[in-house]
Amino acid sequence: MSRKHIRNILLKEWALLFTDPNSALVVALLPFLVVGQGILYIWLAFRFAGESMLTTQVFQSALQKLVEAIPGVAQLPGNEQLLVLLLSQFNFFLLLIPTMIAISVATFSIVDEKLSGSLEALLATPVKTWELLLGKALAGAIPALAMTWLSAGVFLLVVSGLGWGDLSRFVVTAGWFLTLFLLTPAVAILSFMLGVTGSSRAKDTRGAQNSALIIIFPMLALIGIQITGIVWFTPLLILLLALAVGIADFISLRAAVRLFRRESIVVQWR
């Protein structure tokens, strides 16, 4: 029964999501804004700061770690080394897409239902709390994930269009694929679980969004840690990271179910 319930919640959420112009626009446009902005920053850094960036100790350290991970980069001229270093951050930059969509979409999912009164009617059915939360989280995470993968494809096309296509072989590595196909789904589910949990605990959409914002910081930290040379995320590290986030997904679902207080939702929210 559970799979059927989750599927029904998911389909209903999609029907609502894609008939709401604001939410549909966020899901459709946000990925392209993130990709566009990322590429713009890389282009600006490459065009105006150029090789001089590599002289700073921070980037020296990062470059050294990059060369250790991908020795072929050492053979490239300095400006291309810089480009590879910057483009290599992009797989983590893409993680911002599901987290930002979660903040925009998931945080409304429970609060909106409560405010419209449909949640009370829903809680009077035999639906289980975990089915409801997982259904809502997946309903947002799946399109967010699809848009992230689409954005990755767009990114590669733009990189090629800018004449940096030859460098793709240093960027699209095992780590890139692990990030996209293991870490990103795990992060997407975590973001949406946190968004839905925030939504179930908050008394209005603003409160829900504030609580969900917290997920952005670890994503930015990943980029910060790598580009400053503290750690270079090898495929093994990314695999371990994906595993850790996967465990966090499971824990967050359990926590969300515990935090979802049917009684107070029914009694206190107006």
Partner: protein, 309 residues
């Protein structure tokens, strides 16, 4: 056979008491009207009985299931109409109903959805978005949602609140149809006429249960049975004759009417009419005095307040 039983049911929210020591029984097939002022504990009681919240003290059994223990099973066999319709405005009526129906394992959702959309007179508009519906149509759809899984017990929380008279009338007609089908309905309402029209018995609550009986018995509890004799014209001589009759306990004149309390309202009536006619009075009609349920309700609430203080 009792289908709803509550045993000393109480629910507190912090220091506030919503419901106190509520004990009542509802028979299968009965419509029980649940009356009380705002904040009297009507919605809280319905939520406890529908397994939405747990009681602080006492317990309730609905269709054989403890409402605080067997919640999942309970949700399969009770239907609930909440105060607000709580529908998805951007989805069609059919899609709304299909969604809620999909959570009940024992029904064939498609045919049930069609059955209740037709019953509620919404089949022609089944593909229209609910956002385009009037309040009355939304309420009928919400009622269809509460019925789609063929619940044994139906909880209706102020089903006509906020509706215009026409829409409220439509909803009442649907409740009558459900009554004819023999459904057990627990109906919370502010509307005393509605309660009297639809309900077998009425419970008046003000945190505590103040009264539970048929509308007629509730009236008798506060007002003696009285007979109204409508005369063609008032006549002091007739009144004097009536006052002297041994079985007349009390007489009051109101325009062309005599309002009387008799020792035995049924048996004494022919003798009364005979005496009036012999005294020269011309009788237009004889009937029983009907006190509005509102007066009973207000007295109960007032007395309840006095007892509380």
């Amino acid at each position: 056979m009792a289908i709803i039983e509550t045993f000393g049911l109480s629910r507190y929210f912090g220091k506030n008491t919503a419901v106190e020591d509520l004990t009542l029984t509802v028979e299968a097939g009965e419509i029980l009207g649940f009356l009380g002022p705002n904040g009297a504990g009507k919605t809280t009681t319905i939520r406890i009985l529908a397994g939405m919240i747990a009681p602080t003290k006492g317990h309730a059994i609905v269709a054989g299931h403890r409402t605080d223990r067997d919640v999942e099973r309970l949700h399969e066999i009770v239907g609930m109409l909440t105060q607000t319709p709580g529908l998805y405005d951007r989805l069609s009526a059919k899609r709304n109903l299909e969604y809620f129906a999909s959570f009940y394992p024992s029904i064939e959702a498609q045919s049930q959805v069609e059955k209740y959309l037709r019953l509620m007179g919404l089949w022609e508009r089944c593909d229209d978005k609910v956002g385009t519906f009037s309040k009355g149509m939304k309420q009928r759809l919400a009622l269809a949602r509460a019925l789609v899984h063929e619940p044994k017990v139906l909880f209706l929380d102020e089903p006509t609140a906020g509706l215009d008279p026409e829409a409220a009338g439509e909803v009442r007609q649907l409740i009558r149809t459900l009554r004819e089908e023999g459904r057990t309905i627990f109906l919370s309402t502010h509307n005393l006429n509605e309660a009297e029209m639809l309900c077998n018995r009425i419970a008046v609550i003000h945190t505590r249960l103040l009264a539970l009986d048929t509308p007629e018995q509730l009236r008798r509890r506060f007002f003696r049975r009285q007979i109204v004799v409508q005369l063609e014209a008032s006549d002091a001589k007739v009144t004097e004759v009536v006052k002297r009759l041994s079985f007349v306990q009390e007489v009051r004149e109101e325009g062309n009417q005599l309002i009387l309390s008799l020792t035995d309202s049924e048996r004494n009536r022919p003798e009364l009419v005979k005496a009036i006619v012999e005294a020269g009075g011309r009788v237009v009609a004889v009937s029983e005095k009907q006190y509005p349920l509102e007066e009973v309700y207000l007295r109960l609430i007032r007395e309840g307040n006095v007892n509380e203080s």
